[in-house]
């Protein structure tokens, strides 16, 4: 379990990092927090020729609120998200999601940019970005691009990032009055990747959901924004309505099988999460009782 030999460059600026990436193409890998990259290299699952360490680029680190946007630098560590009052106030979904990300030691090193660029379909942050309608900001030789989170994740460990582009920040709209969120995942052990997880962002008007974005993770090759949510909008949610949404969800999800769960178990757990999510958002615990599953 020793990585094969590689070259190392410590980027001095975003421009320098992009130059290095442009020069070395897919033979280079960006090192951010290293919490996924280093194990993969030690297992020799990947053997990049060059590591571009962006750890010195302090301009990529930090959290700021500008108008109705919360901007989070790519190098911001999970622990900083967890401890940020701005994040807790303006994007509490992230604060909650981050507690499910691995363990303290990993949260102390891992970064949001690293997690998003890595695009593990079982990870919490990509789904949270989709739920939050986040914008992913990347820079390349031609300048900056803004990519909607929904369009950013394109497959297992695959994103819309070009090989010569660097993810520099994400921006999410700040929570509005009546905003509500829900985050939960089923993991065998605390800190494990969830078997199925759900990051949801909603607007609740009295007893009615006027907006609902259900971003599931671990049920496909990327975060899945469930269309079943539309069945729950602007109606009085009865068990029958929830059941219909649940059936729609079961039809639209096409999850994979692995050692943790069969396809039908993933569908089932996704439905459990839907019921618990709606029950929580509406403050109606009876909706999560068995019959809607």
């Amino acid at each position: 379990m020793k990585a094969s030999a590689f070259s190392y460059a410590r980027a001095t600026s975003v421009v320098n990092a992009i130059e290095l990436l442009a020069e070395h193409g897919d033979r280079a890998k960006v090192l951010s927090g290293g919490q996924s990259l280093m194990p993969a290299m030690n297992l020799r699952l990947i053997s990049p020729e060059l590591i571009v360490d962006i750890g010195d680029l302090t301009e990529l680190r930090g959290i700021a609120v500008t108008g109705d946007r919360l901007r989070i630098g790519a190098l911001t560590r999970h622990v900083d998200l967890l401890n940020s009052a701005d994040v807790a106030k303006h994007a509490p979904l992230i604060s909650e999601a981050i507690t499910h990300v691995a363990h303290a030691a990993i949260r102390n090193r891992g970064t949001i940019g690293g997690s998003l660029a890595h695009a593990d379909p079982a990870a919490e942050l990509p789904a949270s970005m989709v739920a939050l309608k986040a914008t992913i900001i990347v820079e390349g030789p031609a300048g900056e691009r803004q990519i909607a989170a929904e369009d950013f994740f394109t497959g297992i460990y695959e994103t819309a990032l070009e090989v010569d582009e660097l993810l520099v920040a994400v921006e999410v709209p700040v929570a509005q009055r009546n905003s509500a969120h829900y985050f939960s995942e089923f993991a065998r052990r605390h800190g494990d990747y969830g078997i199925v997880g759900l990051a949801a962002q909603a607007v609740v008007d009295g007893d009615i959901l006027t907006d609902l974005r259900l971003a599931y993770f671990s049920v496909g090759d990327r975060p899945v924004l469930a269309m079943a949510a539309t069945k729950l909008l602007n109606v009085a949610v009865t068990p029958a309505v929830l059941l219909e949404a649940s059936e729609t969800l079961g039809e639209e999800l096409d999850p994979q099988e692995d050692q943790q769960a069969s396809v039908s178990m993933r569908r089932h757990l996704a439905k459990v999460l839907l019921a618990r999510c709606v029950a929580t958002l509406l403050g109606r615990p009876e909706l999560s009782a068995g019959e809607v599953l």
């Binding site: 379990m1 020799r44 065998r188 052990r189 990747y193 050692q259 943790q260 069969s262 039908s264 178990m265």
Partner: protein, 797 residues
Amino acid sequence: MTSTTTNPETLSVLDRPNSYIGKTVPRPNLDRLTQGRGLYVSDMELPRMAHVVYLRSPYAHAKIIGIDAAAAKQLPGVIAVVTGPELAAVITPWVGVLTHLKGLKSAPQSAIAIDRVCWQGEAVAAIVATSRAVAEDAAELVAVDYEELDAVTDMRTALDPQTPVIHASLGDNLAFERSLDAGTVDAAFAESDAVVEAEFVFGRHTGVTLEPRAVVADWNPGDSRLTIYQGTQAPHMVQNIAALHLGLEESQIRVVCKDVGGSFGIKVHVYADEMATYALTKLLRRPIKYVADRIESFNTDIHARDHRCKGKIGVKRDGTIMAFEIDDITGIGPYSMYPRTSAIEANQVVNLVGGQYTTKNYRARTRVVFQNKNVMCQYRGVGHPIACSVTEGLVDLAAMKIDMDPVEIRRRNLIADDAYPCASPSGLKFELLSHHASMDKLIGMMNYDALRAEQAALRKKNIHRGIGIASFIEVTNPSAAFYGVGGAKISSQDGVAVRLDAQGSVICQTSITEQGQGSESLTAQIVGSVLGVSMGKVRVILGDTDNTPYGGGTWASRGAGIGGEAALQAAKVLRRNVLDVAAAILQASPAELDIVNNAIVNLDDGAVRIELRELCRIVYFRPDTLPPGIQPELMATRHFVPREYPFAFTNGVQAAWVEVDTDTGFVKLLRHWVVEDCGTIINPQLVDEQIRGGVVQGLGAALFEKCIYDERGQLTNANMADYLVPMSGEMPDIDIGHVVSPTFETELGAKGAGEAGTAGAAAAVSNAVNDALKPFGAFITEIPLTPQVILSALGRI
């Protein structure tokens, strides 16, 4: 011979003033380890030391057509690439059988595969280089041409005529079979009011030590000696095996075992890659280091528990258990492990099922079959968790059938506390156990009736909790009956030498070993107590065949009971010797004197007569001042082995309190209780830690751990992300109580405590989950109890 010698002072270490026995005292090695100053094999660096990486087979079963190492040998830093046939010039193959396991057969196994690989992970070449990283680079350049063969993977079909035979010379894939028929089983079932059957399925799992297996082997041609630095539980066994297969005398081999990061039985065997490392240093005449990486650990550390066991119980309406019957099968990989063999676990299952209950009617069969998976062998608890899960699962099924409380049915059948000595249907001899006292204590600790009421109340809120009870017996303090009688050169006796230095401090050499369980501490506690010397003045030396007495080491819950007794007896002799010298110096009688707090005192009034330090000064530097005829012996050695009982059985009972989310199949462990009886407790904290650690490994088996093989014999979860070990976040509080029934075979009275936790934890959790699922009509007899298994049983998916 028993150790109870006549002693004029009626000395008992248990009631001496300032005794450390029964007290929680910090481990002597705590500061060293917590300051990062331990010395593990992976820390070791020797001049000219090279690193070996083993290239391992990606196939479960394949012929080796050819190996091309030319490119690898060209890589800078590579010292040698050695194949099986080349290594066979310096080391002979072995066969893992013991004669007392009648009919056990296995095939010759080589340090590195010669022409065929039999499991995914078997080594096919050794790459020796100046660093591990270079050796790994070189390993990628070695081209091996394989011809894949059919793999035998399913134990259930391994004996079918159409299944290929793994070792043609053996005729079939059956390694071992044992049958037992005691009492009148058929008649007992016929007389039963209810008979229940079930098949219990256990996931194959492994020990996952924090520190992987590691060896530094150093052949010194100058003095024709091989030094093996290895994290092993049994240094003298390693010495014997290495000598045997390298063609050396045992005196030419020194095994040194420094700090070890966990063992759990994983490190009590001799593995092919370790043998290869010993051979490589002899071949290359330089120190060779091998440290398994985590993937190698999963693929080559022994696995355990892969059993399918059909069970049957007959019960009367009044709760009387009439008979047990089991039919067990287990797959052990392609070879019986060396030198302890892979038939012991199955043998233990046959021995132990029903052993805590009074019924004499018991029929059992076990079959041990070969398959193309990693080898299986003894891991903490050996057979106990299987026997306990089958027995206690059957008892719960019987209780359910006759609608009796699980505690009540056990109380009606557990062997009475005043019925000892007695024997089990399988012939196990019990000296003194305490099933009923332990059950009573457990019921009190957990407040059983209140818990039942809470369970009923929560049911109404759709919260499903369950209580599971599992009583068990445990084999500890094994005599020669375990291995010696079968021809294995694995000592069942242990020795301890104690001596005073010139300042009155004690140096104690013991043949038991330390892998974290507290051998060093318990030895110092015993020696300090018996001698009357503070623990801080006792230095314990372990794990060095050149510098300790000959002995078995630490395994099968034997360190405290056997090594501890040897320490007690050695310290008693030294104490007598000291008092003889003191009496001569003080012109008193030894019977009037005692040693307390590092000084010779009057027995009657406790007045200090002479400091031990001063006595040692006189003995070592001014012997001329001693009366004529006195030859002080400030060193004493004693050995001990149990002779009367082949094993000192212990007993205990565990209870689990769990909540099952019936929508998701997730189980939450809320609380766990253990009452166990290990006889005299030397250090309560160490015992409790042992129990808790054992329980956690049992909880891992119950809910998480499983080596998942595909049908081609590929281990598909050989990493810490996919193989789920129990983590602290999911563990419940574990309350521990004790009942003390000392063994009278030793003066110390200690039995083993290392495996009790593992023995019953999974059974308690399984029973608790099934108790929670009772209203749903589901009863699960498979572990690990994954959400998938539970949801399937509930018909939810």
